[in-house]
Symmetry: C2
Subunit: 328 residues, 2 copies
């Protein structure tokens, strides 16, 4: 019998989940939950129900894993514990500093309801965290580096769009090649914020807005751009739509470490991803962990988990013998 | 209390284990077991006992995890099940085709004795297997590529040394850059053996041996060289010692996959390692899994396991809260 999946929130991530479920033969999408008018939401999966979030409790026994597709700022802190009291859930909570608090809240709800909640799944946090952790466990004597991009940063694009005179904008985060090369060469450089990433903005101005003023407002913006070398390009609305409507992203996790009795040997471990669609890739990771959530719940391993707590085999549709024969 | 480690076989891998244990504060090396005369073996760790393999049973309650450092051809198939009947063990069994059989043998011994046996730990099998498995679970629709090198292949070096007229030799396996670039670009190429790797040999001849004859014997050798483009360099014994006495290795695991409702988006996941010392890095991976073996045994999770079966957190000296706060 298929693993019955629900999607809670049908934006870019929710649509990515829908596509990912379609690629996994042991799963089916049974319902999409929305805060909008259900009649206005048309999923690509013809067989999926569209329901109001207000009716979610009625689906308690009809969904094996609910995938939480809200935002980390205000949605998930409230929704994940609430839904974990009814369903096994997976979320992609990505406010790193608040993970311990979110973990505790989901854990309490999940233990109480005898469900499994897997939080902070995706690529960072997620696959990048896993690679940081494995590399740290393997080489205790070493140094970690994480680079993001080249890709669209939603938060930085939004910050540019809030500037007066800006009609629309996209911001790319770009790792600096010289820094990457130094890290890969095992030189263990100390890198400032400015030395690790560039920022590049493509901006459509409102009629009559002043280029120099907008550019200055961007490059001096505290927290977002001040500590970086930032390039600003003013382009037409048509060009922005034509050339910059994708959601690519990617990045690199590198650990350089030393071994030997006198630490005479150097080693570099590198994990990287290059993504055409950030939300679709994130969705693929989440769906693999939904399989794990379903299995863990069947074993009675209730409570909150992260990617660190889950044996890799739980993610795969293959059984142990197949995995050993084909992928080990 | 420290995790008490034993080393069974004190060659390159055993020495690497000794160095790795020294970097992990929660472990101590208590004894080295050898088939040689124990009086002739002097470990770097002054406090470690040196014992004959014949006396290993006396150490049953004094060692938490025995690390098996024999070869995969004849040592481990016999030694790992035998030692798993007395100790928790970790081995690096790397004959891919015989893993199912080896798993069954170690599993039977470990379940019977209530021990934990983790097999096929290192980088391939090991970290490369893990990365193949995670990437397959994330992107069911995709294609896997594994490249090895640049590095010394022990088996191919030995094969060259067995040729008449060869006094000594080292063989490097080298991934072909054009193939790597095509894979990274998401082109999903079909690659022949010859298109993936080059082989480069550095050979010291016996006096009076014929260069052309030896070169021909190498490049036409079935299984080892016939299917590759191979370069042969004849050098002096001094140069071989000076330039080719290290044991570097490395490699790449890449999966390229497609997502989206009509598979319109492409993604590439790449894991790579660059190692100054193959045995020391392998040893680091094994030692992290020795920590896992010890913890699993304390929880009563007996039997044979592979890297697929073990939650990442078991490898780390940090606890769950620390991991979530610092590495997630």
């Amino acid at each position: 019998m298929s693993i019955r999946i629900g999607i809670y929130g049908y934006g870019n991530l929710g649509k990515g989940i829908e596509c990912a479920v379609r690629q996994n033969e042991d799963m089916e999408l049974v319902a999409v939950f929305t805060r909008r008018d259900p009649a206005a939401v048309k999923p690509l999966t013809g067989s999926a129900a569209v329901c109001s979030v207000a009716d979610v409790e009625q689906w308690k026994d009809k969904i094996d894993v609910m995938i939480m597709c809200g935002g980390s700022a205000t949605d998930l802190p409230e929704q994940s514990p609430k839904l974990a009291a009814m369903f096994n859930i997976v979320d992609s909570f990505d406010t790193h500093a608040k993970i311990p608090e979110h973990f505790a809240n989901v854990d309490a709800a999940a233990r109480d309801a005898k469900t499994v909640g897997i939080i902070s799944v995706g690529w960072d946090p997620g696959m990048f965290s896993l690679n940081r952790m494995y590399a740290n466990a393997i080489m205790p004597n070493g140094k970690d580096y994480t680079f993001w991009g080249k890709g669209i940063s939603q938060g930085h694009s939004d910050a540019v769009r809030r500037i007066e005179g800006v009609k629309d904008a996209k911001q790319y985060t770009i790792p600096i090649e010289a820094a990457l090369e130094s890290v890969r060469a095992g030189e263990n450089p100390e890198l400032s914020t400015r030395e690790k990433h560039l920022r590049e903005c493509f901006v459509v101005l409102e009629e009559g807005a002043d280029e120099a003023e907008v550019e200055n407002a961007i490059v001096t913006m505290p927290n977002y751009f001040e500590d970086y070398d930032t390039t600003v390009h003013f382009i037409s609305e048509e060009e922005l739509k034509r050339e910059h409507s994708g959601i690519p992203h990617g990045g690199f996790v590198i650990r350089s470490g030393k071994t030997g009795w006198r630490l005479e040997n150097n080693h570099v471990i590198e994990y990287s991803i290059k993504l055409d669609s950030n939300p679709e890739f994130t969705a693929c990771v989440i769906v693999a962990y939904a399989r794990a959530a379903h299995r863990l719940a069947k074993e009675g391993a209730y409570g909150c988990k992260t990617v660190f707590d889950i044996a890799p085999a739980y993610l795969s549709a293959m059984d142990g013998a197949e995995l050993r024969a084909h992928l080990l």
